[in-house]
């Protein structure tokens, strides 16, 4: 069996489409904890979640901490016990703590890549980050290099070099002046 690496796990989990597996709480969208657990177990049945000692503060608020382990790989995450408006709750009740344990677990799982895009911008489709800001579509590259953008775009539209499947984010970059 191939040895697991952080890279291979991230590449697997960051490509999972979580559309339809989220819920809205206040202004925020979350991956449901049961789906997160299901998906993790599908790919990595040995996954374990361990709870670390929480931090508690003088004003009665607290930060939960957990560790998600896949074999020798692990990530540690934390989360204050929040209400749905992202205010830390003073002297939280058991049900507040349980809700936030689930959020904390899902957030920690996202450090392995699952649903990480939700924390960027709330989207559920896997996201290809263009980390170096490069345009990798050859047709859009031509537009990006062109001095006469109008002519270059019209030509690419005419010959089908760009179409509805072209990334508008890349094309948008290509429209900027050289």
């Amino acid at each position: 069996m191939e040895k697991l690496s952080y890279k291979s796990v991230f590449e697997t989990l960051s490509k999972v489409d979580i559309t339809g597996k989220t819920e809205q709480k206040g202004n925020y969208t979350y991956l449901k904890w049961s789906y997160a657990w299901h998906i993790f177990n599908h790919y990595y049945p040995g996954v374990q979640v361990k709870w670390l000692e929480p931090f508690t503060y003088d004003n009665g608020t607290m930060i939960l901490r957990c560790r998600v382990e896949i074999g020798e790989l692990y990530k540690e995450g934390w989360l204050p016990v929040y209400d749905n408006k992202y205010n830390a709750i003073e002297n939280p009740r058991a049900d507040d703590i349980q809700d936030n344990m689930q959020r904390c677990m899902v957030k920690t799982m996202s450090l392995f890549g699952l649903g990480l895009q939700l924390y960027h911008n709330g989207q559920t489709k896997p996201e290809e980050l263009n980390l170096v800001g490069e345009i990798n579509d050859p047709e859009v590259k031509k537009i990006a290099k062109a001095k006469d953008k109008k002519k270059a775009v019209e030509s690419a539209l005419k010959n089908g070099g760009i179409n509805e499947n072209t990334s508008e984010i890349q094309l948008g970059q290509g429209l900027e002046k050289v």
């Binding site: 969208t29 911008n121 996201e127 760009i162 508008e168 948008g172 900027e176």
Partner: protein
């Protein structure tokens, strides 16, 4: 959006002439006080300053500025047409002395559309909005607040001799796009110009305005031409 959001309300004193500039992007506040009450807005304009944007709103403005190009690109890919006056080539259109005021004060109306497209069938403007930090496109309930801006833009360009029949209001997000086609509405323009004139008069006469003016009772011709309801 874009350049028009960055421009400041102008007040200049040129010998005896006072000049104010009302921007289409703030039409909502001038006419209805939607985000800033009319009488507060007028104080900022009298000082020649723009109300500072809070940190919370600033991130929405920054996101909109960053992704205006994505909204334009999406429109190009859908319509298979290339507009002009985009991004760094945007034009600022100014209708000077828009209300024919007499005396030593001039009030201009200005706008900076995100793009313009003309061919034998269409003469239109593009207005790009990137709501919810890219989470989802606006629904009409939110997008309708831009009607005043859109309508004033159409009025300014037509008054300057550039024929515009409609605007495509594009609400872009990472998770989908909606485009509404908004036809020119003379009745609504007339209604807005009345409110803007009232604002301009109050601006120069140091008088107060009603914070909630009478509602527009007419109808608009708007259709969703891309994306789902």
């Amino acid at each position: 959006m874009g350049v028009s959001m960055k421009t400041q309300a102008k007040f200049s004193s040129d010998k005896d002439l006072k000049r104010f500039n009302l921007r289409s992007s703030s039409a909502l506040n001038y006419c209805f006080g939607t985000y800033t009450p009319r009488n507060e807005m007028i104080e900022w304009d009298r000082k020649g300053e723009q109300k500072p944007i809070g940190d919370f709103m600033q991130k929405y403005v920054d996101f909109g500025n960053l992704h205006e190009k994505s909204g334009i690109a999406k429109w190009i890919l859908i319509n298979k047409k290339m507009p002009v006056e985009i991004l760094e080539d945007q034009h600022n259109y100014v209708l000077q002395n828009a209300f024919n005021l007499k005396g030593d004060t001039v009030v201009d109306l200005s706008c900076t559309p995100d793009a313009r497209y003309s061919d034998k069938d269409d003469n239109l403007l593009l207005e790009i909005k990137c709501g919810s930090l890219g989470k989802k496109p606006h629904d009409w309930n939110k997008a309708k607040v831009y009607l005043a801006q859109v309508s004033i833009q159409q009025y300014i360009l037509n008054s300057l001799g550039i024929k515009i029949d409609k605007t495509h209001l594009v609400s872009w997000s990472f998770n989908g796009t909606r485009i509404w086609e908004i036809e020119r509405n003379y009745e609504f323009e007339h209604y807005l110009l009345g409110l803007l004139e009232e604002y301009a008069m109050a601006l120069i006469n140091d008088s107060k305005l009603e914070d909630k003016p009478k509602k527009f009772e007419g109808e608009h011709k708007i259709k969703l031409i891309y994306g789902e309801e």
